[in-house]
Subunit: 216 residues, 2 copies
């Protein structure tokens, strides 16, 4: 008997999912019921085989030759995969301007992320609220994460503080860290770190630009 082999969803495929969801929702609003991989590929400037493989990996039913895939089914499958429907709780450390931007951004709710507390060491911030989220003393990071069973930590402190904060989050039982500080964190093997390094992106941008300028 052939066993059902769950298709592997690669990291890069996962990163494309939010784009698919967004595009599929637009089609859904136009009351379009089915869509083909080549059509989505064209709309998002992606390769059609890539889209087909991504859809095959997440779709609960097969695509139909000539017709394509069910729009609503794809949306449901992808949203379930990413947990858009049952939000995961997270804490944020560092109440600076980037934290403000993150806490003010309503989009995270639809992406399945609920920030339940913010921490800072600056006593001027402690006790205040940012868009409805309380700012708490950073001393309480480990304790609060453990008590509230929070498994996601967001780091928006300066580079010099990031490793300290990271250690506190890990001590509190956090399993996944979203790191906006421009350093590479040391963590135990079982902890996932997702780096969001603006300096890295900027490096790619300015190098490419420099090369282009040479032709002008």
């Amino acid at each position: 008997m052939d066993e059902y082999i769950k298709p592997v969803i690669t990291t890069q495929a996962l990163r494309r999912m939010p784009y698919y969801i967004q595009q599929l929702r637009m089609l859904q609003n136009e009351n379009i019921e089915t869509v083909s991989a080549p059509k989505i590929a064209e709309l998002l400037n992606l390769n059609e085989v890539q889209v087909r493989k991504d859809f095959a990996a997440v779709s609960s039913s097969k695509g139909k030759p000539k017709a394509g895939f069910s729009v609503t089914e794809l949306i449901t499958n992808m949203e379930n995969l990413l947990g858009y429907n049952n939000a995961e709780e997270a804490v944020l450390v560092g109440a600076g301007s980037l934290a403000h931007a993150i806490l003010t951004y309503e989009g995270f709710k639809t992406y399945g992320l609920k920030i339940v507390a913010a921490f800072d060491i600056n006593s001027a911030y402690i006790g205040t609220e940012i868009n409805g989220t309380k700012v708490i003393s950073a001393e309480k990071i480990s304790d609060l994460c453990r008590r509230m069973k929070v498994y996601i930590g967001i780091i928006t402190v300066p580079a010099s503080q990031a490793q300290i904060v990271c250690d506190q989050l890990v001590a509190g039982g956090v399993l996944a860290i979203w790191n906006f500080a421009p350093i590479r964190l040391s963590v135990p093997d079982h902890i996932l770190v997702q780096n969001e390094n603006l300096a890295a992106s900027l490096a790619v941008l300015s190098k490419h630009l420099k090369e282009k300028m040479n032709y002008l």
Copy 2:
């Protein structure tokens, strides 16, 4: 006669450069003059061959067996490569909270980026200043970019506005776009788009977390 072949610096190597610079500066502050690739690899949790290749690709002189590379020379080489010393001018479109965070972040100056103007369509913002940067009517995007010879555009508007803004920037002669909106932009071939999509990163984060939770 052998011709000198400029080593190719890959995109991923480029993204590691800011981490190297940061680490090397720390060593410089401790008055350490030379450093080996394995040492840097250990400090940054990277593979030692990878670091050696990255250093070989950017260093103006060869590393010395047993000793390693000159710290100050590596810093100079990398900073020149990324243009940290002669800042490139950029404009930012969308004066929301993310724009605030970007404009308030002093780090960009050291990364070689100088934001000379911000645009918005909301007349309540127009004429105000954010951390010393004037907010201008979005109607003037193309015109101002062309007159000021600005080649980098930063997009922080909502998804629904991003393509429109992108077209205006391209019309104004912008060659590189840093896109914070969660959509894939359509641009001519010669324009570079660097996407900074929080939803994509979050997708990776929550999927991995979900898998980990299954073992608890």
